[in-house]
């Protein structure tokens, strides 16, 4: 299993062609208290870089983009019911959705943990 990151501060954890997507700890820190999350329904086809989910904090609304293309297999109802999971466990229980990758080559566009850490440090 490998974890990849985007410049929009999403993470994607990949196991074969199954992937789980969420927002990073850096992102939740920037957002502040998350009060609303909308996740895509199972069966929805996502394209890399397209709008996939919505996350809103007290201050602002943000879109979450699909880090990779694929078909959604599950949206996380737990994070819809308890949006503060995004703050308390962004890279664990606070995941947004799972999908089946349609093109694993897209992963090469993403950053690894070390690259992402360096990217955040540069912001």
């Amino acid at each position: 299993m490998s974890v990849y990151y985007t410049k929009e501060h999403e993470w994607v954890s990949v196991d074969g062609d199954a992937a789980t997507v969420g927002v990073t700890d850096f992102a939740q820190g920037q957002l502040g208290d998350v009060v609303f999350v909308e996740v895509p329904e199972a069966g929805r086809a996502l394209t890399q870089g397209g709008e996939a989910a919505v996350v809103e904090s007290v201050k602002a609304a943000s879109d979450v983009y699909a880090p990779v293309s694929g078909t959604v297999t599950e949206g996380n109802q737990a994070v819809v019911d308890e949006p503060s999971l995004v703050n308390t466990d962004p890279e664990g229980e606070g995941w947004f959705f799972k999908l089946t990758l349609s093109d694993t080559h897209e992963l090469s566009d993403l950053m690894n943990a070390e690259q992402y850490q360096a990217y955040c440090a540069s912001l």
């Binding site: 919505v54 007290v58 609304a61």
Partner: protein
Amino acid sequence: MTESEKTLPLDGWHRARGGRMVPFAGYQMPVQYEGIIAEHLWTRTSAGLFDVSHMGQLLIAGPEAQKGLESLLPADLSSLQDGRLRYSLLLNVDGGIIDDLMVTRRGDHFYLVVNGATKFGDIEYFEAKLPRGAVLDHMREQALLALQGPKAVDALSRLVPGVAALTFMTGAAFEIGGAKAWISRSGYTGEDGFEISILARDAVAVADLLAAQPEVKPIGLGARDSLRLEAGLPLYGHDLDHGTTPIEAGLAFAVSKQRRAGGGFAGWHRIIKEVADGPIRKRVGLLIEGRQPVREGAMVVDAEGNEVGKVTSGGFSPSLEAPIAMAYVPLASAAAGTRISLAARGKIFNGTVTAMPFVPHRYHRKGAQA
């Protein structure tokens, strides 16, 4: 930080306490420390310390100070006693709001607190319009702190004996930690609390003293906004602007009865007509269904989807744990209980007009039970 963003006296103080600094009103200011919801709820249950030194503090003195101010503000200043504050509005000739402000009679002069983002424009306007017998002084050397919440009086009384005797919308001169201070019982959260005007050079020492009290935590701009929204208090530049009148904004209380008849202030003709006939639109509070906040800029739409109004403030209420908003709607839709449709982010949201404040005010009014 850009060069045009100036620093305030407590800039380093906020940074040392983990304040996340953002550009605001031309300054760098803390938007939050530990988190907006925690800071919000702390203020509602204990006491929050806010740095509002970006706001403009003005003195207007001279033999024609009262007359000059009354030509611009719809307030009856002749009835404003020494040491009393009044909420008022700086109006343009069309009755539009240039700024909202607090005016206090302090002996032979008036002390005004105006918004930070509008202060330089206000000063220009005052200087252009005030008669020669009224002199304006911008108190650039003053800082301003607000201590807000049900335990503010406990914390401040420990440092400033006698301050508990102030009632809502009164003020007096005190000393805090040896520093001269003008303290009023007022604020922008709906809670009991105080606003403390001190010299900028004393700001760090006074902020340290206040923050050392067990009831007190520093609070950022984020919670200041969510607190005032729950309290139903409008924010200039969002809920009020040059194109809105006091009557549309639901601020008729700031147009004194005496002045309605007599006039003699900017915008009187339009305002008096709106008082008689009703305004075209009105600022209302909205409870939004579901959990998703509806933000400033969202459209109020009618059954056919036509835009008939606009959301001017919106967010998540930490006290109610639900989204709330302020919007301008047609007068026919302004009654409490009216269902309102809103369009935002490609979706339709449903809301219900509700009386404001969303969360009851808890001011320490004269004559009220403690």
